[in-house]
Symmetry: C2
Subunit: 306 residues, 2 copies
């Protein structure tokens, strides 16, 4: 597909173009929040749709910016919702953060301070790194540190920031001191999503909130490892034998999922079951147009048949 | 002073130019953190310098971006450090936030959600507005709200964000919901300072951190009422009979104090007792040059004599 065609408006998914898409694609890459589930609830028809895709020989892969869980924890969440997924079908931004350090030969003797939840700490540990902070420092909410300087570990060589529902001043201060004062300390963002769904009905601040806070105090910009950066795509390309044009990225966000898919040269399908509405998609101010859009993942099943 | 002269490099304060500055200026506007004090400690020689300026008939005014205190609380802090200052010599960004609502005819029937400390709530109350949030919501750090949607007050018509050492996810979520979902809700930042001094020896995240967090989750930019915006200058101009060229802004920050002074047409003096070092000032990447710079406020006393 040429860039001229790409800049045209998204097509509503229909029986005709869904068949065309299906035939030309070998792997479907799914975002999770707002696509597979919302909060703790599976979106209608997802299980049957995934089963249909697999039964027809398509690969399914899950590429999520939500860093709160490790791949192991994501696999557990899938299982608890009745879907069997193996850990190596999951590419989470928590995993991406650990892999970024790995491929950049981050010294295992240095430490990593985490503003985020335990998914990041688990992936760091699996990759052989020592993480500090995370949930543990979420308890430091008292007055104790406010009037006294805090000591920070000079061997911290990277601060990883993801969504953190236990964000507090102590963590922001600790992370800021590392980035500002430890020479060469990396500032890595799992992603910059403004909001996400922790409950089915309400949007809540996403990693973009915590990352922006750190940008505000450090006056630095982070290295982004989640969508829309294509860092995770490198792992997908190593795993599969076919190229990006044989993949279709399915997501609910224009500025992460769709941009990620397009940057990598994938086909793109926007579903309206998450944060993006049809009016946002079709607003003249929106410059990101997926190839196709549809209400929800199970429209694939409905249009293609079982 | 023409803009050509202004873009030239700052002059080191000396006996000659200090006399010239002194004679041409009727009011000295001082920033507080890093200029008058650092953390809870007065900077050497400040008391004698202020006394000298007053004894020679100069007005002294304190213009601070730190929103953690109200003007009353600032006057108390000055008193506790042995300096007598009246409340109406103090222009804090907490006061500016309340005044912004006042001059813009914000309805007293609407409420104001505060991500910040009690100085903002006190100034809102004195101005006749109803504040919510602040320190009270700093206690909401448990698991309770994480898995459930929270109710936010639909009558909140403004969110004011300042430095908040008790920042947490609840406050960020509440403020984000108000800005994103209450029609016409204002998003007001007291200031955007990256870091400040809560202790004498260590820099800590400033309001710029909390404001950026809210920008990250709301995807909106705030209305800025503190330095370098010139909103507070309107109050100073109403108070004094002389114009901006008869004022000298004395501060430790280039991007707030010096920019504020220059934007308003004041003379500017940078002191190196706070966050800006001589090497930052003289770095080729720095585009903000004060008229003069010196180590600390008391150099005025030393150069001019008692």
């Amino acid at each position: 597909m040429s860039s001229d065609e790409r800049s045209s408006v998204a097509q509503l998914l229909s029986t005709g173009n869904a068949r065309n898409l299906f035939d030309s694609v070998e792997a479907f890459l799914f975002d999770c929040d707002g696509v597979i589930w919302k909060g703790g609830k599976l979106i209608d028809g997802v299980a049957d749709t995934l089963e249909m895709l697999r039964s027809k020989g398509k690969k399914v892969v899950f590429v999520t910016n939500n860093s709160s869980k490790s791949r192991r924890q994501y696999a557990e969440k899938f299982h608890s919702l009745g879907i069997t997924v193996s850990e190596d079908e999951i590419f989470s931004s928590s995993f991406a953060a650990a892999m970024f350090l790995k491929v950049n030969n981050f010294s295992p003797e240095k430490k990593v301070y985490v503003i985020g939840e335990d998914g990041i700490l688990e992936e760091l540990q699996l990759a052989g790194f020592t993480g500090l902070g995370g949930p543990e420092d979420g308890k430091k909410t008292g007055d104790l540190y406010v009037h006294y300087p805090i000591d920070h570990d000079k061997s911290v060589g990277a601060v990883v920031v993801g969504v953190d529902r236990y964000i507090n001043y102590y963590k922001l201060q600790y992370g800021t001191l590392c980035v500002r004062e430890n020479p060469g300390c990396l500032f890595i963002a799992t992603n910059r999503d403004a909001v996400g769904h922790f409950t089915e009905t309400q949007e809540s601040p996403g990693a973009g909130c915590m990352v922006a806070a750190m940008c505000g105090s450090t006056e630095k910009e982070p290295i982004l490892v989640g969508k829309p950066s294509t860092f995770m795509m490198d792992f997908l390309l190593k795993k599969f034998q076919f190229g990006c044009s044989k993949m279709c990225m399915v997501g609910d966000r224009l500025d992460t999922d769709i941009l990620f898919g397009q940057s990598a040269g994938c086909r793109t399908l926007l579903v309206l079951s998450g944060v993006t509405t049809q009016s946002i998609l079709q607003d003249p101010s929106n410059g990101i147009q997926p190839d196709y859009y549809t209400a929800k993942v199970s429209d694939l099943l409905e249009l293609l048949g079982p």
